[in-house]
């Protein structure tokens, strides 16, 4: 029995998001999103651009405050975004910060700090912010860099690296925070095609190592291989979800089918 089959079980559940709603002005981006993730699971969000995938991820990292809904992370925090409840902004902010402590984000455009070296980029969070001993943090950072094949780039500046290398540093920067949950926001969308593989490979290895992660991506082959559970979003709602086998092999909804066809056979038209 695969993990995806008992995806609704509450045992060892790391993350539960319920009824997330978010509007930007008139534009309702999230219209009630539910999402669960168990420890060690890889959940992949797919869907057309503008479907709200990235907003879900940003809400999970506390970069965006939903208008309604709740996010529960095992061991805290437990955030209720109910709009009726008069929660002081300060308390909401503290909760969002607590949420941020549990997760780490890898951005579409790596967003490395250009004026710092690779090593400084990586240790900034664990050393300067989390206050862990510098020697320990540096050793761990170097081990992580070595792991993604960048042992010799510790003293380089981000602009001296290729796009794929930059994104691997972005991943290491996230790992160094020792998060419970890794969030990937289209980590390969900004890369030249020949550099996509090296980044996906690193993410796949992390998945195999048991990291819990939510990945927004258009790389369906990656989703097929690495995901335990795939959600197809469109128009701010989850249209369909299931194991990669179910979703890619036998999609139930017309919109899912059309999306998959467009991605897999872009020249066919519909």
């Amino acid at each position: 029995m695969s993990l995806a089959d008992d995806h609704t079980s509450t045992a060892d559940r790391l993350l539960t998001a319920r009824g997330l709603r978010k509007s930007f002005g008139e534009n309702e981006v999230l219209r009630g999103i539910d999402l669960t993730l168990h420890r060690g699971e890889v959940v992949v969000l797919i869907g057309p651009s503008g479907s709200g995938k990235t907003t879900v991820l940003r809400a999970l990292n506390g970069l965006e405050t939903p208008d309604a809904g709740e996010i529960v992370v095992a061991g805290g925090p437990d955030i209720d975004f109910a709009p009726t409840e008069r929660v002081p902004a300060r308390v909401q902010k503290q909760k969002r910060l607590a949420l941020r402590d549990r997760s780490a984000m890898v951005f579409q455009h790596h967003n490395l700090f250009p004026h710092l070296t690779v090593l400084q980029n990586v240790i900034e969070g664990p050393w300067r912010v989390q206050g862990r001993p510098k020697a320990e943090v540096v050793a761990e950072a170097q081990a992580l860099l070595a792991r993604v094949g960048l042992a010799d780039k510790a003293d380089a500046r981000p602009h001296e690296l290729s796009g794929g290398q930059q994104q691997r540093v972005g991943i290491v920067r996230a790992l160094a925070l020792r998060p419970d949950l890794l969030l990937f926001d289209e980590p390969t969308s900004a890369l030249d095609p020949e550099l996509v593989g090296e980044v996906l490979l690193v993410i796949k290895e992390l998945a195999d190592d048991g990291w819990s992660m939510v990945v927004v991506t258009h790389e369906l082959s990656f989703a097929r291989e690495a995901a335990d559970h795939v959600l197809f979003m469109d128009g701010g709602v989850v249209i369909e979800q299931g194991s990669p086998g179910q979703l890619f092999g036998a999609p139930q909804h017309e919109r899912t089918k059309r999306f998959l066809t467009r991605i897999l056979r872009p020249l066919d038209g519909d």
Binding site: L63, A104, N111, F113, P114, V129, Q130, R157, E160, R173
Partner: protein, 221 residues
């Protein structure tokens, strides 16, 4: 009458001395204080609190909308009538700092806004708070962008210090005026003063280029 060329050379000495001992320190001190004011005002200006940003907006508007000379006179000649009497030198430093603060605030604000939003988010996601994000991530990057426009501000300031002669600060131009009054060779003496200002500004321009190269080492352009 003395040989004009000889007078030119003779007056260069005291004028340059006043430049080095009064004009340059006055400009440096006022610029340093002005920059601190500018960063604070720029941060207030981008604040989401409308009162805070309103105060900053008002300050910038008043500074940019009134002549430097009037600002100097208000502080030196105006303040004593409400019981605050300041010496020429501190009056000049205060007026020039406030002036630079107003102009440079807009430069600093633009530079801060030029740093991509993703840098703020990346800093937040590694756990930094707003203050640390500013000092560690945003301002270092904004610094590079603001060097050329701030250099312009500084060069203007060096020349604006000549206005301090009107509130009795014995700076470069005041010394030139004194020599001119004694010799009546206005052309020669004021050309000597112009030369000294020009040399000071040339040196500053070289400093600007060196600073830009230094900051460029870290970032691809």
């Amino acid at each position: 009458m003395e040989n004009p060329w000889q007078l030119f050379l003779d007056s260069l000495g005291p004028i340059a001395l006043a430049g080095v001992t009064v004009t340059v320190p006055l400009a440096l001190l006022s610029f340093a204080l002005g920059l601190v004011i500018a960063i604070l005002v720029a941060l207030m200006r981008i604040s989401v609190n409308p009162i805070v940003s309103g105060i900053a907006r008002f300050y910038i508007s008043v500074i940019r909308g009134t002549p430097m000379l009037v600002q100097l006179f208000v502080i030196f000649y105006g303040l004593p009538s409400i019981g605050v009497t300041l010496d020429p030198w501190p009056s000049a430093v205060i007026a020039l700092s406030l002036n630079v603060g107003g102009y440079a605030a807009e430069v600093v604000r633009a530079a801060i806004l030029s740093v991509p939003k993703g840098q703020w988010e990346a800093a937040y996601t590694v756990g930094m708070n707003r203050t640390r994000t500013l000092t560690r991530v945003i301002l270092p990057q904004a610094a590079r962008v603001s060097v050329p426009p701030l250099s312009n501000t500084f060069i203007s300031l060096v020349k604006d210090t000549s206005l301090a002669s009107l509130i009795l600060v014995t700076e470069l131009f005041k010394v030139a005026q004194q020599i001119a009054a004694a010799t009546l060779e206005f052309m020669v003496v004021y050309l000597a003063a112009a030369l000294v200002y020009w040399v000071i500004c040339l040196v500053l321009s070289f400093g600007q280029s060196a600073l830009e190269r230094r900051l460029d080492r870290h970032v691809a352009r």
